[in-house]
Subunit: 143 residues, 2 copies
């Protein structure tokens, strides 16, 4: 079902400063920066390693671009820090259906646009031991 840890999502207040921190401190470079209007975030993907399913694992840095975005609300409640974990899967719609059948609430009826052309769904953290869990299908995936 899950073939890789796709990324770890980290909420921050200043994306450029945080990108700079990861570059300066750890040598991690952003491979992609984009705005996801639907999620209300500007985000940077920092590739850490390749994975044996042909994909890769990233650090994803997230800055809210509007006050009512979920990440803005997270920052208000919790401050900066770990926001979610995302698992790669060959078929996000199929995986969403499978976990839905286990009684997990999936936060959108259909998969939504994610980073770098991916398709994503979020699972309700209250159904996942407090962990906001994302499932990700890479673009051009067979699934």
């Amino acid at each position: 079902m899950f073939t890789r840890i796709d990324h770890v999502g980290i909420a921050c207040r200043d994306l450029d400063a945080t990108v700079d921190f990861y570059r300066r401190t750890y040598g991690l470079e952003p491979t992609h920066i984009e705005v996801n209007e639907e999620q209300g975030v500007r985000e940077a993907m920092l590739r850490v390693n390749g994975t044996d399913d042909g994909g890769a694992s990233y650090v994803q840095l997230l800055q809210p671009v509007r006050d009512d975005s979920p990440v803005a609300k997270f920052l208000e409640r919790n401050g900066e820090g770990l926001h979610h974990v995302a698992f790669g899967t060959p078929d996000v719609a199929d995986t969403a259906n499978t976990v839905r059948e286990q009684g997990i609430r999936v936060l959108s009826a259909e998969p939504r646009p994610g980073s770098m052309g991916s398709r994503i769904s979020f699972l309700h953290p209250k159904d996942c031991g407090g962990v906001l869990t994302e499932i990700v299908q890479a673009p051009h995936s067979d699934g």
Copy 2:
């Protein structure tokens, strides 16, 4: 410096129930369960994928075994959920020194015993954008 996302650490109150959730819901199996007396946790490692540095990425589930352990205090403050992210490195002592020179507080003078024979150090979350960040050297690593 970092060659992989080694694991994502998740704090839980009942390790066996949480292992069972990850198995039942996602098909992830524990490859290793151990008690780390120093950290005050019982922990399960669930392998998700192999990584192109010859290692692997895991979900690490953590249950406190004493009330004064850092994970017990985390659960009191935050409830269950994402606790830390760990990056693999060939030489944990060398990486700790490098980040220390960047002004990051390293939470132990020397690396400590981690999961499955690894050596680990934690970096202070207040110096890392709110993220409790672990660095991990696998056993038998050249570094």
